[in-house]
Amino acid sequence: MEPLSIEGTAKTPTVKFNGHEGVIEIKGRSIPENSIEFYKPLVEWLEEYSKTPLDLTQVNVQLEYFNTSSSKCILDVFKKLEAIHKGSNEVIINWYYEEDDEDMLEAGEDYESIIRVPFKMIEIVE
């Protein structure tokens, strides 16, 4: 299937979803006023990918900021990944956070406690 690629802006993250490599990346800032609109194509892409996923899907989430409006959409993305994981394909979510950013680490742990997919918390040391 066609990869999904979206260039980042001051309010929205860079998105790179590659179905052939099984690598899914969301990086940057996610603080749009209307997050549903932004995340809709991401969720739709994953819906399609979940029909024939690779044995291993690697997810890299590296956000500097995200607003509460995005937090629900990110959960929707993770729920799609959870469905793939339930279908006995391996999924791993790498949650990156900057050194000292306890709020971002905690946000990752919140998702980890809700979503049944293995998480790896990765600290970025400058």
Partner: protein
């Protein structure tokens, strides 16, 4: 006598102000404000930890305004913009203060007061549980975060939110919300 919005705005602008605005709250305005405040905190050499907290809390405060602001009736538009709001970011006694102000209809006063009081009364763990519950169980509304904003602000700041509701006329109250971010938690400057 009705509440004097301009007098209130002038009062807020006392002290060490990073940014002050009154007028139409739009998506573009939010982008501009974020850019300015980020640059100002750079000038202060603020630690990345505090910078991020202030930025996050500012995003939530502004987007709360943006999503919930009332469209003012014509008779008030002579004096105020249609989507009128106030924002002042300042530094006061080792704290960053983010003040927002907007008109709300009288029927929303009690709902909002109850919600803020409830969030203020909760401890760290309770806030975390509440955040996770809303995140997982409530649908996102067309308007925005579905009630996560205030909980997120309380979690990130660890401080009580302060508020006032001032009667403006029969149809509107002016709602002021002050949110504080401590500077002390980031004393290890980098």
């Amino acid at each position: 006598m009705s509440f004097d919005v301009n007098e209130y705005y002038s009062r807020l602008k006392g002290g060490d102000v990073l940014m002050a605005f009154k007028g139409n709250i739009s998506s573009e305005l939010i982008s501009n404000v974020l850019e300015v405040v980020e640059a100002r905190m750079d000038e202060y050499n603020e630690s990345s930890k505090i910078r991020k907290k202030v930025y996050n809390v500012l995003v939530e405060s502004l987007q709360n305004l943006y999503h919930h602001i009332e469209t003012l009736p014509e008779e008030m538009q002579e004096e105020f913009d249609t989507k009128f709001g106030i924002l002042v970011v300042s530094r006061i006694e080792e704290k960053y203060r983010i003040s927002t102000g907007n008109f709300i209809s009288p029927d929303k006063v009690d709902i909002l007061r109850t919600k803020i009081d409830k969030v203020n009364s909760m401890g760290k763990e309770e806030l975390k549980d509440m955040y996770k519950f809303i995140l997982n169980h409530q649908r996102l509304s067309e308007k925005g975060g579905g009630g996560l904003g205030l909980v997120d602000i309380a979690r990130k700041t660890g401080n009580d939110m302060e508020y006032t509701f001032e009667k403006y006329n029969e149809d509107y109250y002016f709602f002021n919300l002050d949110v504080y971010v401590d500077m002390a938690q980031g004393t290890e400057q980098n």
